[in-house]
């Protein structure tokens, strides 16, 4: 990356985003609680974390599939969550597309592949004639590595990897600028995962797409992302460029997460020291006070329960929310 960060255009800006769900009469589930980050134009931003950490909710709230409880999201300078006319909303939907996790559930089984892919083209009137519409569909099918004979078939005739390709073709149909990939490869076999990831990377190079890549597979996220954000229980714990994050993880949670990944290398597995976290992720309905990770953190002290950690830049472009690195609280730890 030769362009200096200052000059790079922020395509997506998320500021203090909160998304709460009501569960039961009095309880509130804080799925996303005060999350801020930005995504530069043309990059891939990876979002990782364990199940229930709010990564998918963040992705969905970003494009108004959920209404935000508080905070704002700017996509290409436009505030997504303000009141919008139908026309404005349509414009937003054309710019931003999504690829879903489960290729078996995200395609309508009663529609042909052609109609699935062309749905966006129809809605946005992107084809003037039936012939142009067909041509567009054929072209998209070829772009994603399928062929035009597949157009008249139904989703059940395809394998998981092929279905995910159809999902990608559907997302590309309206010529989007920004694609949210919500665990696009977790339901696929290892050898097929690489095919889909390579396809996503190729499309990014050719079309200058911006991706938000949500996943729990940390090694794949590292492979595809330029920058990575780590979430835990609804809050962002660390954001950095992906090599920096994997080489110098600062937050104890990131360190534990990285050390937990089993690596396909027996020698390395035999010799490595693992940080094994105790216990489970607490409930987001009643999260711990202060730092949310403190109940499982090997370094936690009283201050972690009392004060919510500040979001600070520890190295260039490497942000972390942990008292261990905060000048004001550093003294409370003896490391």
């Amino acid at each position: 990356m030769t362009i200096a960060t200052e000059e790079r255009q922020k395509y997506v800006e998320v500021k203090n985003l909160k998304k709460y769900f009501k569960v039961g009469r009095h309880a509130i589930l804080k799925a996303v609680d005060d999350v801020s980050f930005h995504i530069y134009k043309g990059e891939t931003f990876g979002l990782v974390g364990e199940s229930g950490c709010g990564k998918s909710t963040t992705g969905r709230t970003l494009i108004r599939l959920y209404d935000a409880t508080e905070g704002e999201v700017l996509i290409d300078g436009v505030n997504v969550h303000r009141k919008m006319s139908r026309k404005e909303l349509k414009e937003l939907n054309k710019k931003v597309q999504m690829i879903f996790q489960d290729p078996y559930a995200s395609l309508n089984p009663r529609m042909t592949v052609k109609d699935i892919i062309a749905e966006g083209i129809d809605i946005h009137n992107l084809a003037k004639s039936k012939k142009e519409r067909d041509e567009k569909v054929y072209e998209l099918l070829e772009t994603v590595g399928l062929n035009r004979d597949h157009a008249n078939r139904f989703p059940h005739e395809f394998s998981g990897g092929q279905r995910q390709r159809i999902g990608i073709a559907r997302a590309l149909a309206v010529d989007p600028e920004f694609i949210i990939c919500d665990e696009p490869i977790s339901a696929l076999d290892v050898s097929i995962q690489a095919q889909v990831v390579n396809l996503l990377e190729k499309l990014q190079r050719e079309r200058g797409l911006t991706y938000l890549f949500i996943a729990h597979d940390l090694s794949m996220v590292k492979h595809i992302s330029d920058r990575v954000g780590v979430m835990y229980l609804g809050s962002m714990t660390e954001v950095a460029e992906s090599d920096e994050l994997y080489d110098n993880p600062l937050h104890p949670y990131t360190q534990a997460l990285l050390s937990a990944i089993p690596v396909p290398d027996p020698d390395y597995e035999r010799s490595r020291e693992r940080i094994i976290l105790e216990g489970d992720v607490p409930s987001p309905v009643n999260p711990p006070s202060g730092c949310r990770f403190r109940t499982r953190c090997p370094f936690a002290t009283e201050v972690c329960a009392q004060v919510t950690p500040r979001w600070t830049e520890q190295r260039k472009d490497h942000w972390v929310a942990c008292h261990l690195y905060d000048d004001e609280y550093k003294g409370n730890f003896n490391r």
Partner: protein, 340 residues
């Protein structure tokens, strides 16, 4: 070391509306005493069907063992009646299933579910069984076992439920433990806990383990020996070091190269083109031939035999034949997944 379990030329088929699906087509496997053997492969490669055949848990009447032997301590399990199998299941061979959310009975307390096997197989009194259940919960790392034993599955988290499933599986000190994707449904930090626990228990109890998984990281972490399955057949077996550092089969090369390396710089992943074969209509020759970059004419026509690559490594590939051209594995092979 002696073989505790031996599978000889196993063929398993399913009768479906679309015709016969040959899920397992001639599998040979040996499990030695005290070792952890991993069976890796993609979905549909036949790894779970192989393990279910051992337990005689194939869905009846669709699934049936067509031929072959499964020798457990010299006795052929395929000849056993249901009644005889019930004596084996849970006491001598037990199983850990993939999804801890569905493999426990939601209407029974955890304690009752652990005690079930103990009472049945070992004729323990209620009191003794309860004591043993508490011990087992403690062994698998569940805090407060005296209280927890009275609780129901919904009061446990996913990782804790998998610990309970492991406790049930280990209750009668089985000789063989089959773990079918034991950590796939869990998060990474919980997966690390469970793998750690399983390795620890293996050392303590001297149980032989068959680990079924698609995650090569888990294999490197747990197993001593590996069998790679593809299209209903085993394509390569060897020690864990041989499979990871000196693999001989192009499918094993492909599997290893399609995974991103954690500690190296980004380069394009080497994907295996195409999709796995349809076992309703299995290929005549090597099942991997249509996707193999080194496929020759013979590969599509004849099934390759096993050749001995070392004392412990066997591979079924025509490239091993002396008449075949020399093919070097891709550069990514041999450096290990850590990418140093």
């Amino acid at each position: 070391m002696e073989n505790i379990l031996e599978i000889k030329d196993l063929h398993v088929s399913f009768d479906t509306y679309g015709g016969e699906v040959q899920a397992v087509r001639g599998v040979n496997l040996q499990l030695k005493k005290g070792e952890a053997l991993a069976i890796v492969g993609e979905s549909g490669s036949g790894k779970s069907v192989t393990s279910k055949s051992i337990m005689q848990l194939l869905p009846k009447p669709a699934g049936r063992i067509k031929s072959g032997e499964i020798l457990f301590e010299g006795r052929d399990l395929t000849k056993f009646s249901e009644k005889q199998m019930q004596k084996i299941r849970g006491s001598e061979i037990s199983m850990i299933f993939q999804d801890p959310m569905t493999s426990l009975n939601p209407t029974m307390t955890i304690g009752k579910q652990i005690m079930e096997g103990l009472r049945k197989h070992q004729n323990m009194s209620k009191h003794d069984a309860l004591q043993r259940a508490i011990e087992l919960l403690d062994l698998v790392g569940i805090p407060n076992p005296e209280e927890r034993v009275k609780q129901y599955p919904h009061q446990f988290s996913g990782g804790m439920r998998q610990r309970v499933v492991i406790a049930i599986a280990l209750a009668c000190n089985p000789k063989v433990l089959i773990a079918d994707e034991p950590t796939t449904a869990l998060d990474v930090t919980i997966q690390a806990q469970i793998l750690d626990l399983m390795r620890d228990l293996q050392n303590k109890m001297d149980t032989s383990i068959i680990l079924i998984t698609h995650d090569l990281g888990v294999v490197a972490n747990m197993a001593q020996r590996v069998a790679v399955m593809y299209g209903g057949r085993i394509v390569e077996t060897g020690t864990v070091d041989e499979i990871f550092y000196k693999p001989k089969h192009p499918y094993t090369w492909g599997l290893l190269s399609s995974m991103p390396k954690l500690h190296s710089k980004n380069s394009e992943l080497l994907a295996i083109p195409g999709t796995p074969p349809d076992l309703a209509n299995p290929p005549k020759g090597c099942p991997f031939a249509p996707r193999c970059p080194h496929a020759m004419k013979v590969c599509t026509e004849f099934m390759p035999e096993f050749t001995q690559a070392s004392d412990t490594q066997q591979v079924a590939c025509w490239l091993q034949d002396e008449r075949a051209p020399k093919v070097e594995p891709p550069e990514t092979i041999g450096v290990g997944g850590a990418g140093r």
